[in-house]
Point group: D3
Chain length 285, copies 6
Amino acid sequence: MLNNHEKVKIILEALPYIQKFSGKIIVIKYGGSVMEDEELSKEVFRDIVLLKFVGMMPIVVHGGGKEITHLMKKLGIPSKFVSGHRITDKETLDIVEMILAGKINKRVVAGINAQGGLAIGLSGKDANLIKAEKLVLNESLDLGYVGDIKSINIKLLESLLYEGYIPVISSIGIDEKGQGYNINADIVAGKVAQMLKAEKLIYLTDTEGVMDRDKGIISHLSINEAKRLIDEGDIVGGMLPKVTSGVDALQGGVKKVHIINGTFAHSILLEIFTEEGIGTEIVKS
Amino acid sequence: MLNNHEKVKIILEALPYIQKFSGKIIVIKYGGSVMEDEELSKEVFRDIVLLKFVGMMPIVVHGGGKEITHLMKKLGIPSKFVSGHRITDKETLDIVEMILAGKINKRVVAGINAQGGLAIGLSGKDANLIKAEKLVLNESLDLGYVGDIKSINIKLLESLLYEGYIPVISSIGIDEKGQGYNINADIVAGKVAQMLKAEKLIYLTDTEGVMDRDKGIISHLSINEAKRLIDEGDIVGGMLPKVTSGVDALQGGVKKVHIINGTFAHSILLEIFTEEGIGTEIVKS
Amino acid sequence: MLNNHEKVKIILEALPYIQKFSGKIIVIKYGGSVMEDEELSKEVFRDIVLLKFVGMMPIVVHGGGKEITHLMKKLGIPSKFVSGHRITDKETLDIVEMILAGKINKRVVAGINAQGGLAIGLSGKDANLIKAEKLVLNESLDLGYVGDIKSINIKLLESLLYEGYIPVISSIGIDEKGQGYNINADIVAGKVAQMLKAEKLIYLTDTEGVMDRDKGIISHLSINEAKRLIDEGDIVGGMLPKVTSGVDALQGGVKKVHIINGTFAHSILLEIFTEEGIGTEIVKS
Amino acid sequence: MLNNHEKVKIILEALPYIQKFSGKIIVIKYGGSVMEDEELSKEVFRDIVLLKFVGMMPIVVHGGGKEITHLMKKLGIPSKFVSGHRITDKETLDIVEMILAGKINKRVVAGINAQGGLAIGLSGKDANLIKAEKLVLNESLDLGYVGDIKSINIKLLESLLYEGYIPVISSIGIDEKGQGYNINADIVAGKVAQMLKAEKLIYLTDTEGVMDRDKGIISHLSINEAKRLIDEGDIVGGMLPKVTSGVDALQGGVKKVHIINGTFAHSILLEIFTEEGIGTEIVKS
Amino acid sequence: MLNNHEKVKIILEALPYIQKFSGKIIVIKYGGSVMEDEELSKEVFRDIVLLKFVGMMPIVVHGGGKEITHLMKKLGIPSKFVSGHRITDKETLDIVEMILAGKINKRVVAGINAQGGLAIGLSGKDANLIKAEKLVLNESLDLGYVGDIKSINIKLLESLLYEGYIPVISSIGIDEKGQGYNINADIVAGKVAQMLKAEKLIYLTDTEGVMDRDKGIISHLSINEAKRLIDEGDIVGGMLPKVTSGVDALQGGVKKVHIINGTFAHSILLEIFTEEGIGTEIVKS
Amino acid sequence: MLNNHEKVKIILEALPYIQKFSGKIIVIKYGGSVMEDEELSKEVFRDIVLLKFVGMMPIVVHGGGKEITHLMKKLGIPSKFVSGHRITDKETLDIVEMILAGKINKRVVAGINAQGGLAIGLSGKDANLIKAEKLVLNESLDLGYVGDIKSINIKLLESLLYEGYIPVISSIGIDEKGQGYNINADIVAGKVAQMLKAEKLIYLTDTEGVMDRDKGIISHLSINEAKRLIDEGDIVGGMLPKVTSGVDALQGGVKKVHIINGTFAHSILLEIFTEEGIGTEIVKS
C-alpha cells in the first residue's frame, strides 16, 4: 500500500503525458468483449472521463455485432455474413439500429455520464453525421443496406467537442433520401479520426494487438510494413478493417493508431500515460 | 387548378403568420396513428422543415407505445399497464429504449433530413437532457423504471436551436447513476415547452381535440375550464396527460397549447398559418 | 375559393425555393412605372419583406428619373440628356439628391417598414458606400456631376444584412472630397450585386423582358448571346445599362440576372417561387 | 507664431479632456446660421471628426427650417406656423423630407466624410429610428403631419457607434403604418441624448446662450433655475424647445447640456477642451 | 516499485478531485523557507502546472522578506520592523520592489514556464492591479511606504486566467499618483482570493499548520473558532495575517482556506488530491 | 499667451496626424539620460498616454545600463564589457533583472498609470515573451548569460493591446529551461516592432540623431545608405545596434524608424505630430 505522498508523486508522473495530449482529439473504437463486461465497461468509461477532465477530447465510436446477432436469433431471424459484412435487409437494419443507436449507444452515454462526463450519443443519421451510399463489393453480390462512407459532418463534432461534450457515435450511415445504412464501426472510427486529424485512434480489441506469424505481438508498425502484412495475407478477419482504416487515417493526418487489448482494465490509460504503451502502434514511417 | 400568380398570392397570405412566429419555439408532440402512417409522417416532417425554414424553431418530442408493445409481443413478453403507466422492468426498459431512441427517433431524424432539414436525435440520457427519478404513485405499487422529470438541460437545446438544428427527443430519463427511465412523452413535451418558454405546444393526436360530453369538439379552453373538466372527470385516458401537461406549460410561460388531429395532413400548418386554427386550443385566460 | 387545407398545400410548394435561396443575397433594382403606382409598390414591398422573413437577404437599389424631371420642371429648370445621361450641374445634383435620397428612398424605407420589415436607407454618401469619380465619356463632352463607380463599401452592407436590416440604396456616389455624383441606378444595382456575389440580380422594368427583333420575349440568354445582341445593336435605350451591368455582374460572381416586368403584381415572387420564372434570365453559359 | 515645440505642448493640454470624455457619447444639434455658412460648417465637421478620432462618440442631429421655407417659396407654397410648429400637409411633408433627408443630411454626411470621418445619415424612418405619432396641441388645431416622439431605436445607434460610424440624424418620425412626421430637431436631439444617456448634449445656436432679462449670458443654470425661467416666460421662441428638451434630457440621465454660439468657429472644441467653456450650461443641480 | 497498471489506477483515484475542482480558482501564497530551496520550489512549480493542466486555475502570490533583508544588509541598510511591518522608506521600497518584482517574481515565472506552464508576473503596479493607500496603524507611528489594499483589478486577472495564463503576483501596491507601497503578501493573497471568490486559498508555510497551546496541529477550524483563537492571543507572529486574511476571504466568498507545510514536497497536491488533506483548514462553519 | 480659441485651432492641426496613425502600433525604446531625469520621464509618459488616448497603440521597451552599473558598484561587483556587451555571470544577471524588471519597469508602469494610462510591465520571461538562447559572438569568448532573440510571443502583446493596455517590456530573455538572459534593449525594441509590423519604431537617445562625419545630423536615411554607413564604420558605439535593428525592422515590415533626442521634452510628439519631424528617420527606400 502506498501512502498519500507516494500517490501524488505517481499522479505527477502523468503530467508530461497530460501536457503532450492537452487539447488533442483521441478517437476510441469501443467494441469486442469489453462491451459485454459491465464492470470492465465502467472502467473504460472512467478512463474516458479522465481523459476529458485532464484536457483531452475523446470521441467514442462503437459497434455491436454480438448483441445484434443475439436479438436476431431471439426474433427468429438468421444472420448471414459475406466477407465479414452482415447481409442487411430492411428488417435486419431495423434491428441493427435499435441495438446500436437505441441500446448500446445509450448504455455508453449513460455510463460516461454516471462517471461525471457529459456524453451525447449520435447515430450517423443525426445532422447527417455520416453520409453514406450503398456498398457494392461486386456486381453479383447484394449486401443490402450495408454502407460506404461518403463524408463526415465534422462541423457538428467540433462544435460538440468545443462545448465540452463527449460524442458517442453509432456506426449507422444515411443517404440524401434518409435511407439508413449499416457500416463497419472500425471504418467509421478511422474516418472520424482522419477527418478531425485526431492525435490518436485507439482500437479496443479482444487480442493483445497485431500478431506476427509466430503469434508474437508486433509492437510497432510503419504504414509500409502494415501494407505489406495486408498484402501478404498476414492480417485477416476483424483485424483487417482496423489496420486498413488505421493506415488510411494515418495517411489522412492522424498521428498514431493503436490496436490494444480492451479486455484488460485501463488499457487506454496505459497507452496514453506510459512511455512503453501496450499493444500495436502504427505510425506514418 | 391555380395559376402561378394565384399561388404566390396565397403564399403571401402566410406572411403575417411567418412574421408573428419568427424566431419562436414550437414544441410538437408527435405520436399516435400518424406515426404508423409513413406517407402521413412524411407530410408532418415536411411541415416541420417548412416551419424551420421560415424562421421558427420547431422541437419534436415523440413516444412510441404501440411499437413497443409490438416488439414485446414478438419477444414473448407481456405488456402490463397500471393507470396508464407501463410496468417497466429491466428487460422492458431495454425494449422501450431500443424502440424509442433506436428506431422511432432515428426514423424521425432521417425523415426530417430527407426533407432538407437538419435534425439531431436526443434521448433524455444524452448530456443528461432529462434528469429523472423513479415515479412513485403510491407506496404499495412498484411501476419499475417509470420516471418523473426533475429537470431539463435547456442549455443543450438552446445551443442546438441556435446552430440551426431541429432537436428530436425520445421520452427517456436518466438519474445521476446513469439509470434510465421510461417517461410519458406528453409530459416530456410539456416540460420541454415550459422550460424553454415556447410560443406553442402542439399535441398531434388521433382525435379532433378535446371533446365535450356530447362528443362535440371544444375549440377553446381557459386554464380554469381545463382544470374544471379534469376535476369533473370529463378528461380521461390519453387526453389526461396532454391537458394536465398543457396546463402546467401554460402556467410556466408557454403562450398556447394545441391538441389537434395528427391523422389529417398538414394539421400543424393549418394551426399555425390560418386564423381559425383547428382542434382545441388552451390558453392562460 | 380555396379552403385552408388547399392553401397550406400551396404554401408547402414554396418550400423547395425557400430552401434553395435561404441565406442568399437578392439584389432588386426597383424602378420604372412601378414606382409611380402606390398600390403596386406596396405589393413589391410586401414581396421583399416575405423574402426577408423566409430567410433570404434582399437589397433594394432604386433610381427616380421621372420624379427628378418633374421637380425640375416645377422649378423651371430644363432637363438635358446626352446618350442616356442627365447633364448634372450643381443645381440639378441638389434636386437629384433630394428626390432620390430624400423622397423616394424614404418612401421605400417607410413602405417596407409598414409591411413589417426593417429597412435602412442609404445614399452612396453614407459611410462612403459608393466611391465614385467623374464619368468622362469623351473629352469634348462635360456631363457635369455624373459619376463612375470606383468601389462599394461591402463591409457596411454585410454588417447591416447580418443584423437583419434590408438596405435600400440611392444611386448617388461620393469622391474623397465629399463631392456627390449622380449615377445610373441600373449600374449601381449591378455593381452591388457583383461585389456581394449575390445569388440573383433582378431588374424590375416596364416591359416583359429583353425582346428579340420580332418583339418576342427572350426568356433565356447566355453571356455570349447577350454580348452579341449588344454588339449587333439589338439592345438599346434603358435596356442597355441593365444588360451590360447584368453581364458584368455575372462575370463577377452573381448566379443569375433577371429582367422582369415590375408592373405586374408579385413578379418578384413569381421569379423566385416558380420553376418557369418570368421575363428574361441571363446566366453565365 | 508658435514653434512646433510650443504647439505640441498645447496639444498635450487637451489630454485631460480627451481622457475625461473618452468613450462618451456627445450629441450635437447642428442648426441655425452655421448651416448656411459653408466654411463654418466645414470647421464644425472637422471639430466632430476630431472628437471621434480622440475617442469620443459624436452624434449629429440637424434641422433645416430656412431651406425648407426657401424651397417652398420657390415652388409657390406658403409656409404657415402655429406656436413655432410648421403646419405640415402632405405636400409640405414631402418638401421637408427632401430638404432634411435628401439635401442637408447628405451634405453633413459628405462634409464629415471629406474630413476623414465615416458618417451614416439616418432619417427617423430608417429602421424605425424615431417612432412618432401625430402631435395634438389642442383639439381645435390641426398641425397636419407634425409628430410627437414615442420611442428611439437605440439598438441601431449603439451598433453604428460601436462599429465606428458617426450617425447623422434628420428630424423625421414614422408611425407603424409608415406615415412620416415632421419633428422639431431640438426635441429629437434631446430625446436621442436622453435615451443613450449621453455625456453631453450641445445645441449650436445663433446666440451666445441663454440670456437674462438684461441680455447678459447666463453661463450656468440648474434644472430648477431653468424651469423657473421657463415658467416666468423668460425663455421664448427657438430657445424654448432647447431648454425644455435639455431639462428632460438631464432628468433622463444626460450629464450636461450646453447651448452655445455655433456661428463662432470651433465653439464645440472650446466647450469640450477648455475649463471655462462657453455659452450656457445646464446641469442637474 | 509499482508496475504501469498499478500506476494508472492511482492516477484514476485523482479523478474525483480533478472533477470537483475543474475550472475553480486556487490562490496559492508561496513563501517561507520553500522559496529558498531551489529543488523544493521546482516541485511546487510542477504541482502548480499540474493543477493548471487538469483544469484548475491557480494564481500564485509571493512575498520575499528574507531576500529583502539580505540585500539590504549587503547594501549596508538596516532593516527595522514594527508590529511585523517593515519600516519602508524610499530606498527600502526600491529594494523591496527589486527583490519582489525583479528577482523572485521572475524566478517563479521562469520556474513555472520551465515546467511547461505559461506564467505572467504582475506587480500590483501593473494595470493598477493592487490599488493601495498608506497604512496608518496609529497617528504617532509612520511606517513609511507600507500599504493598505483598497481594491483589486479582477478584470485583468480574469482575462489572463481565461486566456490560460498563470498569474504570479508580487505584493506591491500603487496609489493614483503612481506611488508604490510594500504590502504583506499574506494579505494580498487573501484579498485576491476573496475578490475572485476562489475555491481555495492555500498558505504555504514553514510549520505544519495552526498549532494549539500544546503544539498540536489543529486540523480544522471554523471562522468562529479562528476568531476566538485570535482574540485569546493564541495566534501570533506570521500566522496572524494568514488566519486573519483567511477569515476575511471566507467571509467574502472563498470556500476553504488551508495553512500547510510548504517545506514538505507536494503538499499542495496532498491537500487537493486526497481526502485527508494536510495542515489546518479553515471553513465558514 | 494664446487664448482658448487659438489653442483649439492648434489642437485641430494635430487631426491629420491622429487620423494617419489611428490604430497603428508605435514601439518606443526608452533609454539613455531621459531615464535619469524624473521630470523629463514624466513628460515622456504623458506623451505616451496621449498617443494611446488619441487612438494609437504605443509599446515601450526599456534598458537600464547605468543603473545596473551603479548597483553593481554599490555591491562591489565590477562591470566588464566586451564589444558593447556586458559580461553577465549569474550574480550579474540577478542584478540586471532586479534593476530592469523590478525597478525601472515598474517605475515606467507607475509613471504611465499616474498619467491616466494603464500599463502592464513584462519581462521577456512573462509568458515566454522573449525566447532567447546564449549569444555566441565567437568560440573563444564567453559573454555569460547574454542572449540572442529566437522569437517573440506576439499573441500576448496583441491581446494586451486589444484590451487597451500599454505594454512595457524589459529586455530579458528566457530559454525553454527557464534560464534568463540579458539582451540589448535596442535589439528587443527592433524585434518587437518587426514582429508586430509596427508603423513606427522610435529610439529615444542622448543625441540629435545619426551624425555624418562633420557632426551634422542626417535627417533621412534609406536602408542602403544606412548599410553603407555601417560598412564604412561611420556608425559606432550605442548607435550601432539601433541602426542595425532599425534596418532589420524595416526589412521585416516596419514603416519608419526614428532616432531622436529623448533629452528634449516631447520629442516623441514632435516626431508624430509635425511634418518636419526631428532627428534621423530611416525608411525602406
